[in-house]
Subunit: 270 residues, 2 copies
């Protein structure tokens, strides 16, 4: 048993959808979450900037003696994470690799859809990961830049008119391409999975990368006998801008009430 | 005549709508533009962070021996700009003060509407500026957080369905409140002024803060005999993230082709 915490980071608070999945599968683990809210969103930044920020995020988490790092951020995990993961003595896992494997396992037709931020879609990281496992796969990608602001504006109810209109437009190409599996390649999308699933139809399997990385990490910790086998772990949250309003926004993504400490930290000065 | 350049800054490229107005009114001026694209958007940040960033932006511009600073950013000009403006030996003007004065001059009913980012609307800076000039004014405010991502996604044509739906929802309260003047309190909004104006109706005067600050600055430079009285000034652009794709996005906001030099700079390290 290894009681050291798991470190999770994201550009903002969306990565808490991943924390939700980690808690469901591994309730005994301590979790340290870093949301780089002072520099959110990473989605529109250059690759070089994204890598610099990811290194700073990981360096901060590592000061807490963690046993593994999860990059909950779709943008980071498709823009250079694998390049830098080898630089650390502990596992550094990105949501993209876990989701790619799950999509390959789920598809029957080999037609896999991917939606995400502009930076995630521009990157070929998902394509490479999928094609390595399934060279005959056909990947259909669509950037959905309005989904994040729509979710952050709280317009997430099924049938909400703006969400409905935008989702209908974004998903049309994917429907027409006949994908049978769709990767929700951004932390915010699980919150609108109901609408996405309904518009895509019952024959399409949605892949939630947060759920997949939680399953992957659990297997890995079990193999290494490093799972924290106890009832309930403790949670600490760190943000890089004001921690005001954190609890309210965070519970939206977490699906449970924030109880651990919330602190504001500075990464730039290090 | 004072041939030193005018410095203009914004959190991103939206402030170029203000540069467009400056060029229309003062074609002979040299302009140095700083877009803090590495840290955009300021709209969701804390007041303290916004002030810190504004100081860094002004410090960068001042290294170029400028004669005046224009804060084209609605968020900055409603979150602490006046507090720090006195710290500089040259004029530091924000769009909010100029727009508030123009709105007071334009209104007949005293009912003034304001739309902007969450931070601009949360701030009472506009209210204070307007009420100082017109204590009986009634100010109706509405945060429109989806307008910026909609503009940046290029959905700006009049009649574009997502813009139409969102604008209809946002503007409903303002229409019902019977405002006769509406301040476009964010750099991006002039690009959708056609839709906003049509939905508000012909009896409502739209105030473009970029146009107002250009008029204010021109008057001030004339009074001080500091206007650059020549045919055409030179433009330099600085950004804090990748300068790739700058020309394309910039020309959308500028309304003319980018000809000056574009450079990437770092503010954080100073």
């Amino acid at each position: 048993m290894d009681l050291r915490p798991i470190g999770v980071f994201d550009s903002g608070l969306g990565g808490l959808t991943c924390v939700k999945r980690l808690r469901e599968l591994m309730p005994g683990e301590d979790i340290i979450y870093l949301g780089d809210t002072g520099r959110v969103p990473y989605g529109g930044r250059s690759r070089e900037t994204i890598i610099k920020y990811a290194r700073q995020d990981i360096a901060f988490l590592r000061r807490h003696d963690i046993k593994a790092v999860v990059a909950a951020c779709g943008t980071v995990s498709t823009n250079g994470l694998e390049e830098i993961a080898g630089d650390y003595a502990i596992p550094v896992l990105g949501v993209a690799a876990a989701a790619a494997r799950a999509a390959v396992n789920a598809t029957r037709s080999g037609r896999i859809g991917l939606i995400g931020t502009k930076a995630s879609i521009r990157s070929t990281a998902y394509d490479e990961k999928i094609l390595r496992l399934m060279p005959e796969a056909r990947i259909v990608k669509k950037a959905c830049p309005l989904f994040v602001p729509i979710v952050e504006d709280g317009r997430i109810g099924d049938g909400e008119p703006v969400l409905e209109l935008v989702a209908h437009q974004y998903l049309e190409d994917l429907r027409r391409a006949g994908v049978d599996t769709l990767i929700l390649g951004c932390t915010h999308y699980p919150l609108i999975a109901g609408t996405i699933g309904r518009l895509m139809g019952p024959g399409v399997t949605l892949i939630d990368p947060g759920a997949e990385i939680a399953a992957l990490l659990r297997r890995r910790l079990e193999e290494e006998d490093a799972l924290a086998d106890r009832d309930r772990g403790a949670y600490s949250y760190f943000v890089t801008d004001s921690a005001e309003d954190f609890a309210q926004t965070a519970s939206l993504f977490l699906g449970f009430r924030v109880e651990g400490a919330v602190s504001r930290v500075s990464l730039e000065d290090r």
